[in-house]
C-alpha cells in the first residue's frame, strides 16, 4: 500500500455509525450473493464493502426460469428477489459476514412503506450490518419496489419511513427508469438519505422468435452490464450536480478504467455488479487499478478525484 488516501465514508445521523470503507470499491446487490460464494475465490476482506442480495421480510421464491438472457454486451435478469427472508438472512448468512472486516450493506425491499420501515428497524440493531441500501428500483417484482422508486411522492415516503426507523447510514438505490434521475436523487436527499446509489437495472425484454413469446418467463427483466454504462455514467454525472450527499456509482463497470470514469463523473464509491460473473476477481483488479491510476496521475486523495470531470476547464 502506498500513502494514498483511499478511504471513503458515508455519514449517517449517528457519528458512531459511519460507514467506513477502506477503498471505494463495493459489490452490487444481487450479483454477489451473501459473499460466501466469492470467498471461495479470494479474500473478501480486501473489498471496500459488500452489498448483499436484496432482502424482504418473508422468504421469496423468485420468478420461474429462465431468469437470465444474454444481450449484446449485457444481460437481462428476472430473478424476482429470491431470498431467504429477514430471519433466514440473519440466521444463516450474517454470522459468516460478521467475521469479515469488510462492512456489510443490506439491500432491503418491500411491498409497502411499512415493510421497508419494519426491515429498517429490525436491522437497525443487528450486529454486523453497517448500512442499509433501500431498493426502490427492482424491476422484477409485481408489486412494490420499483413502483416506489419512479415517483417522487412515494420515494419520499419510503425514504422518510426508513430514515425514521434506523440510525444506520441509509443509501437509496435509484431506478434509471425515470425521466429525471437527479430530481429523484434530490427527493431522496430531502427525505433523509445519507447517500444515493445508481443505477439499478433498466427494464428490458427479449423475444423468442421461434416460440413467438418473451424469452424470460417473467416477460420483462432488468438490463445490466457494459451495454448500459454510457447511460449510467450520465446519470451519475447529473446526480452529482444536484445533490450534496455521496453518490455510489454503478452500471456496467467491468474494469478500473470504467470505475475511474464513474469517479470522475462524481461517484464517491463504485459498485461492481455483472462484472463479477464475467471476471470474479474484477473488484480486486479495480481496486488496484484505481490506486495505480492515482499514483500515475499524482493524486493522493480519492476525494480529489471524485467529480473532477466537472471541475476541469474545457
Amino acid at each position: 500500500m502506498s500513502d494514498i488516501i483511499f478511504e471513503v465514508r458515508i455519514k449517517g445521523p449517528d457519528p458512531k455509525r459511519e460507514l467506513i470503507m477502506k477503498n471505494p470499491v463495493m459489490t452490487a446487490s444481487g450479483t454477489f450473493g451473501f459473499g460466501r460464494e466469492y470467498s471461495r475465490l479470494y479474500d473478501l476482506n480486501r473489498l471496500g464493502a459488500i452489498t448483499v442480495k436484496g432482502i424482504t421480510i418473508e422468504p421469496r421464491r423468485g420468478n420461474p426460469p429462465p431468469r437470465l438472457i444474454e444481450t449484446p454486451s449485457g444481460i437481462l435478469n428476472s430473478i424476482g428477489l429470491q431470498n431467504p427472508g429477514l430471519e433466514g438472512f440473519i440466521g444463516d448468512e450474517l454470522p459468516y459476514l460478521r467475521r469479515l472486516s469488510t462492512p456489510v450493506i443490506v439491500n432491503i425491499s418491500g411491498n409497502t412503506i411499512e415493510e421497508y420501515a419494519f426491515l429498517a428497524s429490525e436491522l437497525d440493531r443487528v450486529e454486523g450490518v453497517s448500512a442499509l441500501e433501500v431498493n426502490v428500483s427492482c424491476p422484477n417484482v409485481k408489486e412494490g419496489c420499483m413502483a416506489f422508486g419512479i415517483k417522487k411522492d412515494s420515494l419520499f415516503s419510503v425514504v422518510s419511513a426508513v430514515r425514521k426507523s434506523t440510525t444506520l447510514p441509509v443509501i437509496v438505490k435509484l431506478s434509471p427508469n425515470v425521466r429525471d434521475i437527479a430530481e429523484m436523487a434530490e427527493t431522496a436527499e430531502n427525505a433523509g438519505a445519507d447517500a444515493v446509489s445508481l443505477v439499478n437495472t433498466f427494464l428490458g425484454m427479449a423475444i423468442d422468435i421461434d416460440r413467438k413469446k418473451p424469452l424470460l418467463a417473467n416477460t420483462f427483466g432488468g438490463l445490466s452490464g457494459p451495454a448500459i454504462k454510457p447511460i449510467a455514467l450520465r446519470m451519475v454525472w447529473e446526480v452529482y450536480e444536484r445533490v450534496d450527499i455521496p453518490v455510489i456509482g454503478m452500471g456496467g463497470i467491468m474494469n478500473w478504467k470504467d470505475a475511474v470514469e464513474f469517479i470522475l463523473a462524481g461517484a464517491a464509491s463504485v459498485a461492481v455488479g455483472t462484472a463479477n460473473f464475467v471476471n470474479p476477481t474484477a473488484p480486486l483488479e479495480i481496486i488496484d487499478g484505481i490506486e495505480n491510476y492515482m499514483i500515475r496521475e499524482g493524486i493522493n486523495d480519492i476525494r480529489e478525484l471524485i467529480g473532477l470531470g466537472h471541475r476541469l476547464p474545457a
Partner: protein, 265 residues
C-alpha cells in the same frame, strides 16, 4: 477453493462435424475435479458475448495435469471456443458444481448419454469402472455418424450399447427405450444420465417405475456459475412432495436426483 486459471490449451480438435474436444493444462483443476462437475469458460475478451460458458469436464488426466472438454458448436460462444489453438491461454473457473454420487453401494450402474449430453459421462464411467463397478454405458445419437464416445469406451471395461434414432447402428430408437429394455432384464443400483430434457423426463419416469435411483445432470442459463446470482434455477420438489422450490443448477446441481426434479410442461 475454486480455481481461476489462465490455462494453456493443449489441443482443440474437431472429432465429428461441429463437435470438438479441447484439452487444457490445468493441474489444480485436474487434481480436484469430480465426474459431473463443470468449468465456467471465458470465450472472449470483448464484451459480446458477455458471459462465460458452462462446459462439463469430459476427462481428466491427473498425471499430465490436464482436463478435457467435449463441446458442440451451437452459437457464438462455442464458435469462439472452437477457434482456440494449442498454446493459447483460456480463462477457466472450476471445478464447479456437485458431482454424480458414486455411493459405495452402487455396484451395478447404468450410464445414459443422449447427444452432447454424453460429455460429462465418460469421466463418470471410467471412474466407476476403475473403482470396480459394473457399468452399462448407453449412448444415444441421431445416427451412427453422430456418436461421440463409443470407441473410447471400447476397451474401458464398460459394457457399451448404442441407440440411434435412425437405427444406423445398434438399437433403433431412443436411449431411454433401450434402458427400459435392460431394466426389464437386469437390475441396476443407480442410473446416471445427461441429455436433452425429454430424455431426462423419460429417465425420471423409468426411475420411479423401476424403483431405481437415477441422477440427472441439468442445464440452465448461467450467470456467475458459483451460486451467487440465482439465475440458473430449476424447480424441485420440496416439503416432502407437497411444495416446490427453486434450486441452483450451478451449486445445488448440476446433478439432481431425478425424482426431485419437476419438469414443467
Amino acid at each position: 477453493m475454486i480455481i481461476d486459471d489462465n490455462a494453456r490449451v493443449i489441443t482443440n480438435k474437431m472429432i465429428i462435424p461441429a463437435h470438438y474436444v479441447m484439452e487444457i493444462h490445468s493441474p489444480d483443476i485436474a487434481l480436484k475435479a469430480l465426474p459431473g462437475q463443470f468449468l465456467h469458460i471465458k470465450v472472449t475478451n470483448n464484451t459480446s458475448p458477455l458471459l462465460r460458458r458452462p462446459i462439463s469436464i469430459h476427462m481428466r488426466d491427473r498425471e499430465k495435469g490436464s482436463i478435457s472438454i467435449l463441446y458442440r458448436v451451437v452459437g457464438t460462444g462455442t464458435q469462439l471456443l472452437s477457434h482456440y489453438k494449442p498454446g493459447d491461454r483460456i480463462n477457466i473457473i472450476g471445478p464447479l458444481g456437485n458431482c454424480f454420487p458414486l455411493a459405495a453401494e452402487f455396484k451395478r450402474i447404468a450410464v445414459v448419454g443422449g447427444g452432447i449430453g454424453t460429455a460429462p459421462l465418460l469421466f463418470l464411467a471410467l471412474e466407476a469402472v476403475n473403482s470396480g463397478r459394473d457399468v452399462l454405458y448407453i449412448e444415444g445419437a441421431r445416427c451412427r455418424d453422430a456418436l461421440l464416445l463409443s470407441e473410447h469406451l471400447g476397451n474401458s471395461g464398460c459394457r457399451v450399447m448404442v441407440a440411434t434414432d435412425d437405427g444406423s447402428l445398434g438399437y433403433r430408437g431412443f436411449p431411454t427405450e433401450l434402458l427400459k429394455s435392460r431394466l426389464e432384464r437386469e437390475s441396476f443400483d443407480a442410473v446416471y444420465a445427461c441429455g436433452p430434457k425429454p430424455m431426462l423426463k423419460g429417465i425420471k419416469k423409468l426411475s420411479l417405475e423401476y424403483r431405481t435411483p437415477a441422477f440427472i445432470s441439468l442445464e440452465e442459463r448461467m450467470g456467475c456459475g458459483i451460486g451467487a446470482c440465482l439465475s440458473c434455477v430449476c424447480k424441485v420438489i420440496a416439503d416432502g412432495g407437497r411444495g416446490a422450490e427453486y434450486r441452483k443448477v450451478c451449486t445445488d446441481g448440476p446433478v439432481f436426483p431425478a425424482e426431485a426434479v419437476m419438469f414443467d410442461e
